[in-house]
């Protein structure tokens, strides 16, 4: 498990995960490329791909991040606009070790909540004290088909991928992910059902195409 979760460190180490030559020129210009999309953009992506259409409005990733933390919410640290300042600027959009730890920790929280659905696949949902939404049936069916063991069928992989990543990431990125899964099949299947699903989700949540402006 630890070995697989090492993916997070890939992000911790990166400076944007763009190719070096481009990274330098783009960052010189102060481009948003390589910066966090921000908490609300991530919420929108999750809503669209993983949540039941009728429940979308009721899902907000902030509520996972800030649960039980009303006084001093952490969500603004994950890339948010400073409202009412006369300057439409996003704060905390620079990836660094602290913000990466925050993202990682909160994605793990979400991944674990979703993974719990192996216990009741017919009513797949995200339930916390503040959220109660059904998962998108197509995404849920694909994801939960790996509860017993890793389901590597093309349709299933595509649906899990699209549910989280949407349709913008390059096709080769999806290919790479599939190969990564198959190369690690044994290790992944050695995990418990919930660990396996968490791991699947984390490998997408920490993908730069999900998390960062590209």
């Amino acid at each position: 498990m630890n070995r697989l979760m090492g993916g997070a460190f890939c992000l911790l180490l990166m400076t944007g995960c763009t190719a070096p030559d481009e990274a330098s020129s783009l960052h010189a210009g102060g481009s948003r490329i390589g910066l966090f999309k921000g908490i609300d953009a991530i919420t929108e992506m999750l809503r669209i791909g993983t949540i039941h259409p009728d429940d979308r409005d009721n899902f907000d990733f902030r509520k996972i991040v800030d649960e039980g933390n009303v006084v001093d919410p952490l969500s603004p640290l994950l890339g948010a606009f400073v409202g009412g300042s006369g300057d439409s600027k996003m704060d905390n959009d620079e990836p660094h070790s602290i913000s990466m730890m925050l993202w990682k920790g909160n994605f793990e929280k979400l991944a674990k909540i979703i993974a719990l659905n192996c216990q009741h696949p017919d009513a797949a949902s995200i339930k916390t004290n503040e959220i109660d939404v059904r998962l998108h049936p197509r995404f849920a069916a694909a994801l939960l088909s790996s509860c017993a063991s890793l389901n590597e069928s093309t349709e299933v992989s595509d649906d899990i991928w699209n549910g989280v990543m949407g349709w913008e990431a390059p096709a080769a990125e999806l290919e790479a992910w599939k190969i990564f899964l198959s190369l690690n099949r044994d290790a992944i299947n050695a995990l418990s059902a919930e660990e396996r699903l968490s791991m699947l989700l984390m490998s997408l949540f920490l993908n730069p195409y999900f998390l960062l402006e590209t």
């Binding site: 995960c17 481009e22 490329i33 948010a80």
Partner: protein, 621 residues
């Protein structure tokens, strides 16, 4: 190849080897054509769609104008997804979208399709707030009013977005006078016992409002039945009465700050009641009657805007209170843009220059004109670099004190830092904006220190704020700024754009009365642009129009040179030659009017700064 890449990914992920491995693993070197072919949409003709040509020419009304977008390739899946996300306020493609069908359309049809989606107007609203500098998180939410209250706070943002929806006048964004948008009325939160019915509790609020108005009115009439300014003003100034009234208003309406209009109507009441010769209550009477009828209008709207009937699902559902306009900037603006006894409205002015003119006040040398040498602000050229234009804009706010209250008709002014001017010091303060050689105000948008005619001055000193917005709306710079922000918002913040391309977009959104349509066309042009479709674009290269790319990283400045230098330097400059660039830098920054370029002519500061920065960055390597 794929295997090698994925091995890299595997290594990166499982061993956390190095950032470099990650870089390779993130799939940067993908062939752009790949996803395109996979979608099997290649059979559609790559000729320019009919509508592109027709649209570009007819709307331009001038066939000589360049088409806004180049002939389009068939759509790719990734482009489709990006357009969906861009035009639907962050909501990319979803399971509900029929991608197969969509990919059978050409790119223009796809853009049109997404612009029909109600979320496109949310995007426009979001852009408007972004432009105004008050973009918020979670613009739409589950609440009763559906939209973040910031949207209601800046009615121009809602107004202009609705105009885009109806192909109306998008440039209403630049109007000071705006509708006041209603939010669904919920239960009043007054002190009436909860055992009472909703109607009774509402009636209680109504009584409270009427009573507060009566209290103010009564305070202006002394025991002998005469009008008494002093007594009334004292009463009004004590926050107790004002607060009473506000509290009453708030109880009637759902949210804390939804009604700027009555707030400022009250201010005008303050002005009228307190100014004017002692004993003459006519103006006051007019004001309080107006205020009373305003509030009665609100009261009458209660049924219409009750949450049971007034439901906001999309932007088009938002309605304005009938018969009311606000001619004020929102309270939120004033709270953020505070003024102090030393700041003299400069913070507000800096906001205006940055927001509406895209001028972030990068200091550059200026040539102080001889004739104005005695002007008090001209004393130090290094300060003048910003203050020559900052202070005259600040002047538009000269009567606005704490919280934006208008002190024009009063003999005092209170700042946000609690400092107060008496009659004499008020005069002295106002002198800051008096031109030294005349009694005229040196208040306006300054383009030139030598050619006074090039500047846009305030013409009606009794309407300073309205004058500011008149100047903003009339200025070509504000539309150019709008086009620049559009490109930032819809494509990328730091991507450079060819100047002529931005001019084309500017022309679209400047079309009188058709700016809503023009706005859509400008956005359409941006998402159909080559820049938008570029994988890993180089931020210093212009991809639109297609021919601009050949200019390499010069595209950012070639327009500026054409515009400002070509008339005299027809041959242009050899930008390969470092000594030429150094000479240009010197000439652009010289404070000596005989050396400074363009020779005895003005050049917009923003363009001079761009050119200087570019030369500076490209001279030393």
């Amino acid at each position: 190849m794929a295997l090698v890449r994925s091995l890299n990914l595997f290594l990166a992920v499982s061993l956390a080897l190095s950032a470099e491995a990650c870089l390779r693993g993130s799939g940067q070197s993908i062939d752009a054509r790949r996803d395109h072919d996979e979608q099997g949409s290649g059979s559609l003709a790559s000729q320019a769609p009919e509508s592109a040509r027709a649209g570009a020419e007819s709307a331009a009304g001038n066939s000589a104008e360049r088409p806004l977008w180049a002939p389009q390739e068939p759509p790719t899946a990734a482009w489709l997804a990006k357009v969906a996300r861009t035009l639907r306020k962050g909501q990319g493609l979803s399971w509900e979208d029929d991608q197969g069908q969509l990919l059978k359309l050409d790119r223009e049809q796809i853009v049109d399709h997404f612009m029909e989606d109600p979320r496109f107007l949310d995007t426009v609203l979001d852009f408007n707030l972004y432009f105004l500098g008050f973009k918020v998180n979670q613009l739409t939410n589950k609440s009763l009013q559906r939209y973040h209250r910031a949207a209601f706070t800046f009615p121009q943002a809602i107004h202009a977005a609705q105009e885009v929806g109806t192909n109306g006048d998008y440039l209403s964004l630049f109007d000071l006078e705006q509708p006041v948008y209603a939010r669904p009325f919920v239960e009043p939160t007054n002190s009436a016992p909860l055992t009472l019915s909703l109607e009774e509790r509402r009636a209680e609020s109504v009584r409270a409002i009427r009573k507060a108005i009566d209290t103010i009115e009564a305070a202006f009439i002394n025991s002998k039945g005469e009008f008494d300014n002093q007594k009334g003003c004292d009463e009004l100034q004590t926050s107790a009465v004002r607060l009473d009234l506000f509290v009453a208003v708030l109880q009637l309406l759902p949210q804390d700050d939804s009604l700027d209009s009555p707030t400022f109507a009250l201010n005008s009441l303050l002005d009228k009641g307190c100014k004017g010769p002692q004993g003459q209550g006519g103006a006051f009477r007019v004001a309080i009657d107006a205020y009373r009828s305003l509030m009665e209008g609100q009261i009458a709207s209660m049924a219409r805007f009750d949450q049971s009937v007034y439901k906001i699902k999309s932007l088009a559902d938002i309605q304005a209170f009938p018969g009311i306009k606000t001619r004020e900037l929102p309270y939120e603006f004033w709270v953020e843009m505070t003024n102090s006894s030393t700041n003299y409205n400069r913070k507000r002015a800096a906001y205006v220059l940055k927001t509406f003119f895209c001028d972030d006040l990068t200091p550059i040398n200026i040539v102080a004109p001889e004739s104005h040498a005695s002007d008090r602000h001209a004393s130090d050229p290094s300060c003048q670099a910003c203050h020559y234009k900052l202070d005259p804009v600040a002047g538009f706010f000269r009567y606005r004190g704490a919280d934006g209250l208008n002190f024009q008709t009063l003999t005092t002014l209170a700042f946000d830092d609690a400092a107060r001017l008496d009659a004499e010091s008020f005069e002295g303060y106002l002198d800051t904006w008096k031109a030294s050689d005349s009694q005229k105000w040196n208040v306006g948008y300054i383009r030139s220190l030598t050619k006074i005619a090039a500047n846009s001055y305030e013409t009606d000193p009794t309407q300073s704020l309205a004058e500011l917005f008149r100047v903003i709306k009339a200025a070509p710079e504000s539309k150019r700024c709008l086009a620049k922000r559009l490109a930032e918002y819809f494509v990328s913040k730091e991507q450079v754009f060819d100047g002529t391309y931005l001019e084309d977009l500017t022309r679209e959104i400047s079309r009188p009365l058709a700016s809503g349509l023009g706005f859509k066309r400008a956005v359409k042009a941006l998402v159909l642009s080559r820049t938008f479709d570029q994988k890993n674009p180089n931020a210093h290269i212009c991809y639109d129009p297609p021919e601009a790319q050949a200019a390499g990283n010069r595209c950012e400045i070639s327009f500026i040179i054409d515009k400002n230098c070509k008339s005299c330097h027809a041959g242009g400059f050899d930008l390969e030659d470092a000594s030429v660039k150094t000479e240009m830098l010197d000439r652009l920054q010289s404070a000596d009017s005989r050396q400074r370029m363009p020779y005895r002519r003005d050049m917009p500061d923003t363009e001079r700064v761009t050119l200087i920065k570019w030369l500076d960055e490209n001279t030393h390597d």
